[in-house]
Symmetry: C2
Subunit: 211 residues, 2 copies
């Protein structure tokens, strides 16, 4: 299948319009089953090392479990507030949307016991495959005008316990998923001056032999 | 900005048409600068923890360096062949396209010295941000009808030495990038029966409280 220049331009628009959404932007409107299905389909069509597809997706809507997750976040974030005590902005940031988002998805990595093709040298390739699935889901959600926020200020072991996961599971991402009242035009952390944008020239180099 | 159902369907097509491309499919046709630029633009618009943008992209075209990388691969792959000695198929697989692809890109993670928002609990979020950039690049390339192969059978320390990278850099992905004579309809490892496809029902669950 060949894609057109218009298709490529559209993809770049989706990529640039994707945002990390927090609880101040989610609305309560339910996500249609077929849209959630498209988001998950995007996830399972991610690349995976040795075609191992080592992902698992746990859908969470129950308020009690979400509450446990929120408590988990609040505990971790109180430590984080101390770490960033010299940056006044930190404590005013809304950094999760666990209760506000109608759907939460825990994305897990389930390592295989046997050897995996492509993982014999670089051992983290399994985890990285799961991250590729998360990024596919994030883009797919954006194309459906649905927001996703990745919450990482969590104690992983407690999350796995709250969700009663298999012993060998690893948490890769905890996602809050829902419709939004607005997608910001740019990263909120850029707008608020937390961190500067790095343009291509800042992060690109050619190998010394090609210079 | 609102996207349409057609946009979402198109994105899902791109996601499903993306393949891991090896040396038997790359052709020598040069990649236009503006297309390489679009691929890299897709990379730097990935999500990153705390808007840290901790990525670096090293473009490699020089044959001597590519040769060093190929030797690196061959050393690691001879170990891998022993690991998979009971699966005849392994030794017949072409698992890289370092020389055949006109452009190679090493995607590095450059950790910050100071604390990063969102990384205070889950320490791997910086690496994961770089993986999101790789996935954006992979999809963008596919929309431009350009193939990418992720080579992971490499000794990371030797790669960093070959590229004379900064001391604190970490290799996340080594990508082979080029036009192809064909994109396979499905993963080659599925076609060849190396690993079975897992469908959504195999990898999806709801939290125990939502059952």
């Amino acid at each position: 299948m060949n894609f057109t220049n218009d298709d490529a331009a559209k993809l770049l628009k989706i990529i640039k319009a994707r945002r990390d959404v927090r609880g101040n932007r989610f609305i309560s409107q339910a996500i249609e089953d077929e849209k959630l299905h498209m988001i998950l389909e995007a996830g399972i069509h991610a690349p995976s090392v040795g075609y191992s597809q080592p992902w698992k997706f746990v859908i969470i809507k129950d308020k009690k479990i979400k509450n446990e997750l929120l408590e988990n976040f609040e505990g971790e974030n109180s430590t984080a507030k101390e770490i960033f005590s010299e940056r006044e902005l930190y404590k005013n940031l809304k950094l999760e949307g666990i209760m506000e988002a109608p759907v939460n998805i825990a994305v897990l990595y389930e390592p295989k016991e046997e050897a995996v093709l492509g993982m014999t040298s670089m051992k983290k390739m399994g985890e990285y495959s799961v991250v590729c699935a998360v990024q596919n889901m994030w883009l797919m959600a954006r194309a459906l005008n649905i927001g996703i926020g990745w919450v990482s200020i969590l104690d992983e072991a407690k999350v796995l316990k709250s969700l009663r996961c298999e012993k060998n599971s690893q948490l890769i991402a905890y996602l809050c998923v829902g419709y939004v009242d607005e997608f910001y035009k740019e990263s909120e952390l850029k707008t608020l001056g937390w961190e500067r944008e790095r343009v291509l020239e800042d992060v690109l180099s050619t190998s010394y032999a090609d210079r």
